[in-house]
Symmetry: C2
Subunit: 269 residues, 2 copies
C-alpha cells in the first residue's frame, strides 16, 4: 500500500501539514531534533541513512514530504554502517555547502531510493497561495516598492542568502540574514526613524524563495506572528512571491492583517 512519510523538523509547519496526510503516514525525525507532531516517530541519523531509507521502503512508503527546520548534526565517524559510509563524500559536501546544496543532496538521495519527494503545496494547497491580494489595499507606491524588494531578494538569493527585505518608498530599511525574518523586522522597528517623512508612513515586508530553489523544500513561511511583528515595525503590508511562500494558518493570518490594517499580497513573480 502506498504510504507517505513526513520528515519533520522544528516549527509549526509539520504539525499543520498532518491534516492533509491522512491517518496512515509515517513520521520521521532526526535523532535529537523532535518535531511538534503528536505521533510516534522513526528516529534517523545521517550516519545510518541507508538503513533508514531501506526501512521506509519496507514500511510501504512511496512519497516523502520534508517540512520544518533541521539543524545540521555533527557526523560521528564511528556510527556509519558500511553502505552509508560509501555516501560520506556526498554527505560531507552537503553538510559543508549552503542550505540549498544540502537539501538538493537529501532530495536526490531519496529519489535514488525510488521515493517521490513532494512539496507542502501538494499536501495542503491552501497553504501556498497563488496570485492575488488576500486582504487590504495595495497602492502604486507599494507596487513599486514590491518590485524593488523582489529585485533585492533575488540578488541576495543568488548568493544563497536570506529571503526577505523591508522597503519603504524606494529605500531599503532592512535585509534578512542568518538571524531571520523576526530579527529583521525588529531591526526595521528600531531604525524606521531614519526614513524621511513620506516613507516613514508606509513600507512593506517582502518574502520570496531563492531563484532556482527547489520549491518542494525550505519555502519561506509567514503566519499571524509575522503580521503582528510587521505591524509593530510600522509597515503597511506583506508581499510575497505567489507560489513561493507557506502561509501558516491562513485564516488567522488574514484575520490578523485585517485587524492591524495591513495588506497581504501574493504577487506574480
Amino acid at each position: 500500500m502506498s504510504r507517505i512519510a513526513l520528515i519533520a523538523g522544528a516549527g509549526a509547519l509539520p504539525r499543520l501539514l498532518v491534516e492533509g496526510l491522512g491517518q496512515d503516514f509515517v513520521l520521521a525525525e532526526l535523532e535529537g531534533q523532535p518535531s511538534d507532531v503528536a505521533k510516534e516517530a522513526l528516529k534517523f541519523r545521517f550516519e545510518r541513512l541507508v538503513p533508514f531509507l531501506d526501512h521506509l521502503l519496507t514500511e510501504g512508503v512511496e512519497r516523502v514530504v520534508m517540512a520544518g527546520a533541521m539543524r545540521r548534526p555533527r557526523l560521528d565517524p564511528e556510527l556509519f554502517d558500511a553502505r552509508t559510509a560509501a555516501l560520506v563524500p556526498r554527505l560531507l559536501a552537503a553538510m559543508q555547502g549552503g542550505d540549498d546544496a544540502a537539501l538538493r543532496t537529501m532530495i536526490s538521495l531519496f529519489e535514488e531510493w525510488g521515493f517521490e519527494v513532494v512539496g507542502p503545496d501538494s499536501i495542503a494547497p491552501q497553504m501556498v497561495p497563488g496570485e492575488g491580494v488576500l486582504t487590504g489595499a495595495v497602492t502604486p507606491q507599494d507596487a513599486t516598492d514590491a518590485e524593488y524588494a523582489a529585485r533585492i531578494v533575488a540578488a541576495l538569493g543568488a548568493q544563497d542568502l536570506g529571503q526577505g527585505a523591508v522597503v519603504a518608498a524606494g529605500l531599503c530599511l532592512a535585509l534578512e540574514s542568518l538571524p531571520g525574518t523576526d530579527a529583521m523586522l525588529e531591526f526595521a522597528r528600531q531604525h524606521r526613524g531614519v526614513l524621511p517623512e513620506p516613507a516613514r508612513a508606509r513600507g512593506l515586508l517582502y518574502k520570496a524563495p531563492k531563484p532556482g530553489q527547489d520549491r518542494r523544500v525550505d519555502l519561506p513561511a509567514i503566519g499571524p506572528e509575522t503580521v503582528a511583528r510587521a505591524a509593530t515595525a510600522g509597515l503597511a503590508g506583506i508581499v510575497w512571491e505567489a507560489g513561493g511562500l507557506i502561509l501558516l494558518d491562513r485564516a488567522a493570518t488574514i484575520a490578523a492583517a485585517e485587524a492591524s490594517g495591513l495588506f497581504l499580497w501574493s504577487r506574480a513573480p
Copy 2:
C-alpha cells in the same frame, strides 16, 4: 591662480581633508547643512546652482573635491534663478534617483563648468589604503569569508544598496541597509548567538564601494569607532576593497585595531 574648492557635508572627512588642501582653498556648504570645518564657508542652494558655479569660477577655483554626507534638500520652486531653472529636469531626476545618480549629476554639472572633480585620494593619499594587511593576522578562513562577503556586497551594490556585510565562517550574520554600518554592527552583536560554535569565535566586517561607483565621491569610510564597534560585536577583523575605502585617522584606527586584537586588511578587488 588655481584654487581648489571643498564641497563639504557632515562627518569627520571634510575636516580631515583640510590638511591636504593648503591655506587658500574655498569652503562651500549646502545652506542649512554646516560642516565641521573651522573656516568661513560659501553657502549654496541647488535652486541657485548656476550663480554658485559661476562664483566659484570668479574665485579662481579650478578643482573641486566633494566630501561628507549631504541630505537632499527639498527644492523651493520660488527660489530658482532663470539659468538654474533650465537645469530643473536634471536636478529633479537627480533628487529622485538613487545616491549614485544624484552624485553623477553633481559631478557632470561641475565638469560642464570646466572644474576638475577630484577624489579624497588625490588630496590625502594615505587615507585611501592600497593593497595590504595593515595590522594583525588573516587566517585562511578569514580570506574565504572576505571573498564571500565581497560577492555579497557586490550583489547588493548592483541594487544601489548598502556597502557592507558581516560574515563568519561562511555564514552571513548581518547586511548593511539604510541605517548604516554602526546599526549593522549592533545587529551583529545582538545576534551572534545564532552562529554555530566554530563561527562564533571569529567573523569579519567587509566594506566596499558599489560596483561601477565613481570613486571620487561617497566612498565608504571607517575609523577608530568602527574598530571599537566591530570588537564589541565579537569580530576578528575588518576587510575592505583596496582603493575603495577612506580610513579616517589612519594612525588611530590602526592603534585601536592593535589594542583590540583585530586585523585590518585592505584587500585586492
